[in-house]
């Protein structure tokens, strides 16, 4: 057990945190080109960086527009990280992998804005 804990701690120091499940929700608007691209990009990215520890929920706001209020969605597609907290948001078709990884806090930001 001790050995296992140590190795987990060591992993936390590296760029990819290994603890916790990622619960992601992708808001889309039917089958618009950006929505279709976002679904494909997200699936690809998660398999690469979060293999085995993520769940994706795709919400089509054309079918259920009332769900937009909950996560304060203004534009589509939008990806929301619901778990682990805090809530994070990434807007767009998710084609810029680097930006998504940072936005989801999977990879720490290299330079501070302040």
């Amino acid at each position: 057990m001790n050995d296992a804990n140590r190795s987990v701690a060591a992993a936390e120091d590296s760029e990819e945190p290994t603890t916790g499940e990622y619960n992601l929700r992708l808001y889309v608007a039917g089958q618009t080109p950006k929505s279709l691209a976002a679904i494909a990009n997200l699936k690809n990215l998660c398999e690469k960086h979060l293999s085995g520890r993520y769940t994706i929920e795709v919400v089509d706001l054309l079918v259920t527009p009332q769900l937009a209020a909950g996560d304060q969605i203004v534009a589509l597609p939008t990806l929301v990280r619901r778990l682990p907290p805090p809530l994070k948001r990434v807007i767009g078709d998710l084609s810029n992998t680097e930006r998504v990884l940072v936005g989801l806090d999977i990879r720490p930001k290299l330079a501070s804005t302040t």
Binding site: A29, L62, P65, I73, A75, L76, R89, V90, I91, G103
Partner: protein
């Protein structure tokens, strides 16, 4: 990191959160500005609504544009509002020229009313039907049209959407399928005809067929297969162990081995015995077949089966007949040489008899020796009888006339403990045979019958007539026709089949050593064959034996020539030429002739004899052996003489007086003296020939 340690922890957290929210807001604006989104959520009186940006429905458009079905939207009256490229291609027109055109233009005239009904019927319901489209160039395309009401907005006028599917390919497939079906049907028909033909062939060959499935061991059989095994129709299916169990226990292992081998070699062909269920009979069956493989593994063995019992039976008879023929050849040859030996011994005894002084003892020795020669000669006669080389004096004989003789013979042969029954024939049947040989045959049979009944019993002699057809004749090795059958039955111990098979072989005997020669039945066999008939035998242990002598029936009684026998020698005068290849026999014959008063010339071969005759000296009689080595035998010599010196009389002699000699026209009226002969017989024969010619 923490450059302002005096800040409260809560204030710091708030700052971080605010900063993050600001960043998010900036990123959202950035994304919208950069066109990274194509829909926005807008709040309204009816709650949240999603607006997609222009071109956001492009995937749907592409789907409709590129799909392999024609798609159209139609006004209520059938004007085309939109069509995709595929529809334009189907009707062979430019897309642009179609918008606003009535779709009816492309429906063949006979179907327009049906098309109207399709468009009108049941507002809102989905419906479809098949039509024939008429393309711009006049060609026709079979299609399925599926129509649905398109409801986008309550304010919009009624619009229909249609999906047009090209059925050309599927129709072609249907036609291909139909053609393939026809092909298949005709192949099945062909196959059935072939199977019928095969069945006909199998029936004609009296064969059944079978198939052993090696995967599940099940045996499939034809009706004839079951029939061969003695089952009636409708037997259950069975598996390999059942099939194997129908063979005799002694044969099962061999059958199993044959099938195991067939799996390796691909072929099977064997004959084994089965026990037929219906009558418990043992039958021989022949199984032939081949193995079928799948992926290199044997999966089934299939083939035919036939009952070959009868064929084997005939083969067995043929083998037996060939064996008897071979033994006949052998014994005939031995008997011939043996007769020459007896001739030398007997002749020498005759001469000794005349030359030495005889006291009582010497006379007895001589008599015993002569008796020995006579017995040897009789034995030899039986051997020759078997080998069919004896002299048959064939006459037309009525068996009825011989019954009296037979009765005497039987009474004398069998003794008092055995009763003799004679069943007389209802008619007077004549057959061609030698009555003396027939008597001997009956006597031989009677002796056998007596020996089979040491405790007494009964003998029955029967005469009947038998008509033999070609098939029956073939199995008996004789010609078809009427036969007079003389049979002799006893009530004795009978014989097992393996003994019955061999009884006609010379020297085969079941009697104690010294009690029988083993030649009795051989004589019967040979005599019957030589008469143009045959013999068969029925016997079973414990239920007696019957021997049937079949003699060819004849209608013409020929007058019987009776010869008188004299027992005293007759001396004579003249020059006799003795032609004989055996030196000892020649010497004996010359001495006997000299004793009788004749002058003798000798020749070793036919050619030597010819040279002597050509020299022109006096020759009153030529006494020649028939069978001689070299280029001229006795018959050849006679032929030469007839051509040049017809006046010189000839007397033939032979160790076996084969029928083949007698059959020659040339020698028909010649006298033949059978070896061994004694001085008396020689003198009578010489006398008769010389007198005839004189």
């Amino acid at each position: 990191m923490n450059r302002q340690p005096d800040f409260a922890a809560a204030d710091h957290a708030q700052l971080v959160e605010l900063r993050d929210r600001l960043r998010e807001a900036e990123e959202t604006l950035e994304a919208i500005r950069n066109g990274e989104v194509d829909a926005v959520v807008v709040g309204g009186p009816a709650g949240q609504q999603v607006y997609t940006l222009e071109n956001a429905d492009r995937p749907y458009r592409v789907l409709i544009e590129q799909m392999q079905e024609g798609a159209v939207t139609l006004s209520e009256h059938g004007l085309m509002l939109y069509c995709n490229q595929r529809f334009a291609t189907l009707v062979g027109a430019e897309r642009e020229s179609l918008i606003g055109e009535p779709i009816e233009r492309f429906v063949v005239s006979t179907e327009t009313s049906a098309f109207h009904r399709l468009m009108d019927s049941g507002r809102g319901a989905r419906r479809s039907a098949e039509f024939m489209l008429q393309a711009a160039d006049g060609s026709r395309v079979p299609v399925n049209v599926s129509i649905a009401d398109l409801k986008v907005d309550a304010q919009m006028p009624r619009v229909l959407c249609g999906v047009v599917t090209d059925l050309t390919h599927s129709r072609e497939r249907s036609h291909e399928l139909a053609a393939a079906n026809m092909q298949l049907a005709s192949e099945i028909d062909e196959r059935r005809r072939a199977e019928d033909g095969l069945q006909l062939a199998l029936d004609a060959a009296d064969m059944g067929n079978w198939e052993l499935n090696l995967v599940n061991d099940v045996v499939t059989r034809s009706a004839r297969y079951d029939q061969i095994f003695g089952y009636t129709a409708g037997e259950r299916t069975w598996e390999w162990p059942t099939m194997l169990s129908q063979f005799l226990p002694d044969d099962r292992e061999a059958v199993d081995v044959e099938f195991a081998r067939a799996k390796r070699t691909g072929f099977i062909d064997f004959e084994r015995r089965i026990r037929r269920v219906s009558d418990e009979a043992i039958r021989w069956v022949q199984i032939k077949g081949r193995t079928y493989y799948q992926d290199g593994k044997p999966v089934r063995i299939a083939g035919v089966i036939s009952d070959v019992t009868d064929r084997r039976h005939v083969e067995e008879q043929l083998r037996q007949a060939q064996k008897m023929e071979a033994i006949g050849q052998l014994t005939g040859g031995i008997a011939h040489d043996f007769n020459n030996l007896l001739m030398v011994v007997g002749g020498s005894l005759d001469m000794l008899d005349q030359r030495i002084e005889k006291d009582e003892k010497t006379a007895r020795y001589l008599a015993a020796a002569r008796q020995g020669v006579e017995r040897g000669a009789r034995l030899n006669q039986q051997l020759l009888a078997f080998s069919r080389r004896q002299d048959l004096r064939v006459e037309a004989v009525c068996i009825e006339d011989l019954i009296g003789t037979f009765e005497n013979l039987l009474d004398r042969a069998v003794g008092e403990t055995i009763t003799v029954h004679i069943e007389r024939a209802p008619e007077l049947w004549y057959c061609r045979t030698d009555p003396h040989q027939l008597e001997t045959a009956i006597l031989n049979l009677a002796i056998n019958a007596r020996d089979a009944m040491p405790q007494g019993g009964a003998i029955t002699l029967r005469t009947r007539i038998l008509q033999l057809d070609a098939q029956g004749a073939a199995t008996s090795g004789a010609a078809a026709g009427d036969y007079v059958v003389v049979s002799l039955s006893d009530t004795g111990m009978g014989m097992p089949p393996d003994v019955v098979d061999r009884v006609f072989e010379p020297f085969f005997t079941t009697k104690d050593v010294g009690k029988g020669t083993g030649l009795g039945l051989s004589q019967v066999y040979g005599f019957a064959r030589q008469s143009g008939g045959f013999v068969n035998i029925e016997s079973q242990p414990g239920s007696g034996t019957t021997v049937f002598i079949h003699l060819p029936r004849t209608a013409r009684p020929v007058a019987v020539e009776t010869a008188t026998h004299s027992t005293a020698e007759i001396k004579g005068k003249g020059v006799v030429l003795v032609v004989e290849d055996d030196n000892d026999v020649r010497a004996v014959a010359s001495s006997l002739l000299e004793n009788l008063g004749y002058s003798v010339l000798e020749a070793e071969t036919g050619s030597d004899a010819m040279r002597l005759i050509e020299r022109g000296g006096r020759i009153d009689l030529i006494f020649t052996d028939v069978i001689m080595p070299g280029d001229m035998n006795g018959i050849d010599l006679v032929r030469e003489l007839k051509a040049r010196h017809a006046t010189i009389p000839v007397l033939l002699t032979s160790g076996y007086t084969a029928q083949r000699i007698a059959s020659e026209e040339l020698v028909k009226d010649l006298q033949l003296l059978r070896k061994p002969y004694n001085q008396v017989e020689l003198s009578l024969a010489v006398r008769m020939v010389m007198n005839d010619r004189a």
